[in-house]
Symmetry: C2
């Protein structure tokens, strides 16, 4: 994420927090910034290490900020990686799908209506009330597949 996009993301988060009556504290802002600056999903302890460069910090510091950011929908947790990424459209709640490249480590966040629809149908057929869908596909991205073919 480039500098401009980052600043935009932080402003958006700030505005949403104001709207929602919750506090976008310096700590939370710093953690969101670290996650957004990372090109790839970043682990809680990596965030911790970076926080420690500036001040003292312990695991709960990071996990508290992460809990907040997850609740507000500013970041997503990738369960298969135990890592976090910034959300690409935090304005509205949504169920995303993630394509995770195990080669380069990059992740693509998607919001596909067909998948959301068939998932809804499946849930309805089973009388199941969804709270949190987790859809992550581990594989190889187009770029890495192409790279392998060439060499």
């Amino acid at each position: 994420m480039n500098e401009e996009t980052l600043q935009q993301a932080l402003r958006t988060a700030d505005n949403l927090c104001t709207q929602r009556g919750v506090r976008f504290t310096a700590q939370r802002r710093r953690v969101l910034e670290l996650i957004c600056r990372a090109e790839r999903p970043i682990g809680a302890y990596e965030i911790l290490d970076q926080l420690r460069a500036g001040a003292k910090a312990a695991p709960p510091t990071v996990y508290r900020a992460l809990d907040f950011l997850l609740e507000q929908g500013f970041v997503h947790k990738l369960e298969t990686l135990h890592a976090f990424i910034g959300c690409t459209h935090p304005e509205h709640p949504h169920a995303s799908q993630f394509l995770i490249c195990s080669d380069c480590g990059r992740v693509k966040e998607l919001e596909d209506e067909a998948i959301a629809g068939s998932l809804r149908a499946l849930e309805d057929a089973n009388g199941f009330r969804p709270k949190r869908p987790v859809i992550e596909v581990i594989g190889t991205c187009a770029h890495c597949t192409h790279r392998h073919t060439q060499s």
Copy 2:
């Protein structure tokens, strides 16, 4: 899983191992049995505790058996729970979806063609080569929803 189903599952696993030229050792059999006997997903350390009731055991013992059972497709790992369940149809490879009830803890394994299809479409559109899809929905099952409505 009742006793008969359990025995059937163990026989199936045994046969598949013979077909595939891999060894269904006593250790692996025991771990599969413990997983199948559990009504709910069971964690690696719960399995370990149960193994310890009969003999000495350490984490690698369990994780080695789990790795084998996962490779052979005899069990599934639920990433959101860090826990394992027996596969309901280990004969053929497949991508399943899991409906996880956060109330009673039970899990339903499904193989829905519509979801598999839209996921494939999504992957194709992005030039992504899937290796392992993870689809887990956390929510409330029909039974628990009904129970809440009554009381």
